[in-house]
């Protein structure tokens, strides 16, 4: 067993971890390590071989592996120490990390600050309680993506996809291009779960049916999936009797949501937000435990990797600044409270003293709305959708309009022009 004292330890080397580690190093932290349980840096980006990454961050249309490559090169040049095949298995509230590595065995790290960048995990059949048998042929969309794009296996020939999230739609296209027949993408909500771009380029382009307000009610088959039963739901998501229909298929993919992966955070005593499933953070992405920061999908599930990188750079910078004593461990701040049609806001608190970018999601799709940040900012928007994250920058000038002693700001998404 070895003991290592480091300045900043980053857990996870996906887009969040790499951006945080590079930024921590650039900000002046000397000894920065990044832990990755796989054999290469980059996390999930390697299996996301489609394009659409980096349109905002690099102003280029890159694939996942290309986006990863840019950061890997930068990280190797920066002097950050990558620890591959090293898995963090525990964090204590006093910031001691326990990790295991195939090369070094059991390692204890004592970092001055930590950045959590573990990303997220897919929801599985267990989270949905779909009745039926337990045959082979049921995969989460991300597992199927790995099988097809990394390992070289096609999971099936006739496929039904449950959930119209981005990964589900991207897999509908991938499997079609690889020669499988996608019978349909089934979505319980009355609108598509992912980005419009994916609806057009993954489903419409290949005439893949999108079945809205429908869900899978039964899985059939003994050894292998033979069919699924789908049925329509009403506005309260209750099944409508008599609408059941059987679709023959050999494979069911589940694209039914992602959950931030926070087992380690909880071991460290980090407080989580039940809505996002991730740590409650302030504007410098510090969690409720001093010296522990977080960025990317571990905080809230993003739809664009570009925002993951940007958000994690804040966490990396703060982690380095804390070491140099340039930041207080936790600034008492102003709480941002989700109001009308706002599901959540990250960060959860702001100082009100510096410009800050807010990330938000709405509960319901709406057109012609106005975002209202307390009394200081209003911004008109043509449309909002739960699948498309809202980003709002507050300038120092706007923040200076806050009244002395403000402790809470409510953010509303109001209907515009309505009476």
């Amino acid at each position: 067993m070895s003991l290592k004292n480091v300045d900043v330890a980053v857990i996870g080397s996906g887009p969040a971890g790499m951006a945080a580690a590079i930024k921590a190093k650039e900000t002046g932290a000397e000894n920065v390590v990044i832990m990755e349980r796989a054999e290469q840096l980059g996390g999930l980006l390697h299996q996301c071989i489609h394009n659409g990454f980096g349109l905002l961050y690099f102003k280029e249309d890159l694939t996942g592996p290309e986006y990863a490559h840019r950061f890997i090169e930068k990280l190797m040049d920066s002097g950050v120490k990558p620890l591959l095949e090293t898995m963090a298995i525990g964090i204590s509230p006093d910031r001691e990390i326990i990790a295991v590595s195939s090369r070094e065995g059991y390692i204890t790290f004592r970092p001055k600050s930590i950045v959590l960048a573990m990303g997220c995990r897919e929801r599985t059949r267990g989270a949905l309680n779909i009745p039926g048998t337990r045959p082979a042929g049921i995969f989460t969309a991300g597992t199927a993506q790995r099988l097809v794009n990394i390992d070289g296996f096609i999971p099936g020939k006739k496929v039904v996809i449950l959930g119209s999230g981005d990964i589900g739609m991207i897999m509908a296209r991938r499997l079609t291009l690889e020669g499988a027949k996608v019978e349909g993408v089934v979505e319980i909500l009355p609108y598509v779960g992912g980005l419009i771009r994916n609806q057009v380029q993954c489903l419409h382009d290949f005439n893949i049916p999108l079945l809205l307000e429908c869900t899978v009610t039964q899985i059939h088959g003994e050894e292998r999936v033979e069919a699924v039963t789908i049925a329509m739901v009403d506005t309260k998501r209750k099944l409508i009797a008599g609408t059941e229909k059987q679709i023959e298929c050999d494979t069911l993919l589940l694209s039914v949501g992602l959950i931030p992966e926070n087992e380690l955070s909880q071991m460290a005593g980090v407080k989580l937000d039940p809505i996002t499933g991730g740590p409650i953070v302030n504007e410098i992405r510090q969690t409720s435990v001093p010296g522990i920061f977080a960025g990317g999908n571990v905080v809230h599930v993003h739809d664009l990797v570009d925002n993951v990188s940007w958000e994690s750079e804040i966490a990396g910078q703060s982690a380095a600044e804390l070491i140099h004593g340039r930041r207080k461990s936790w600034e008492r701040g102003i709480t941002l409270k989700p109001g009308r049609n706002i599901k959540y806001i990250v960060p959860h608190t702001i100082s009100g003293k510096r410009e800050v970018t807010l990330y938000m999601r709405v509960n319901e799709p709406e057109e012609d709305v106005r975002l209202k940040v307390g009394t200081i900012v209003t911004k008109a928007l043509r449309a909002v959708k739960p699948a498309e994250m809202l980003k709002l920058e507050l300038s120092s000038a706007q923040l200076s309009k806050l009244g002395e002693g403000t402790t809470e700001i409510v953010i509303d998404c109001e209907k515009r022009g309505g009476r």
Binding site: I49, T63, P65, I150, I196, R382, K385, A387
Partner: protein, 121 residues
């Protein structure tokens, strides 16, 4: 007169545009777009829809079974499935560096298929 429906992907609004096509095959009118940029997009999408094709190439003599690839530029939408057939027939051996041309002039498009990752033995 015929009609073509195109959904704009420019913003979260996702306008459902309808293009009226005259009997001479010319674009007669566009309805349903709420902005100028959207109109431009749907015309382009009607006249020449293009997409980047991404996929994988089976490797030989490498620990990794697949090399991810892309077309260096978007290609006509109609060439996506035929393009996949070309990728399926291709084999590649290491070493490959990211950006290396794997297939040049895919199906006469003058667009190359390039590696999106390094491939070592």
């Amino acid at each position: 007169m015929s009609q073509v429906n195109i959904i704009c992907v420019g913003c979260p609004l996702g306008c459902a545009a309808t293009l009226a096509i005259g009997d001479d095959g010319k674009l007669a009118a566009i309805t349903g777009c709420k902005c100028k940029a959207g109109q431009k997009y749907v015309v382009k999408e009607y006249k020449n829809p293009v997409r980047v094709l991404t996929g994988t190439i089976v490797t030989q003599d490498s620990a990794r079974p697949l090399l991810p690839v892309r077309t260096a530029a978007p290609i006509p939408k109609a060439k996506l499935l035929p393009g996949m057939k070309v990728l399926a027939k291709t084999r590649i051996k290491p070493p490959v560096m990211i950006g290396d041309v794997i297939i040049s002039n895919l199906l006469g498009t003058r667009v190359s298929v390039v590696a999106t990752s390094d491939l070592l033995a």
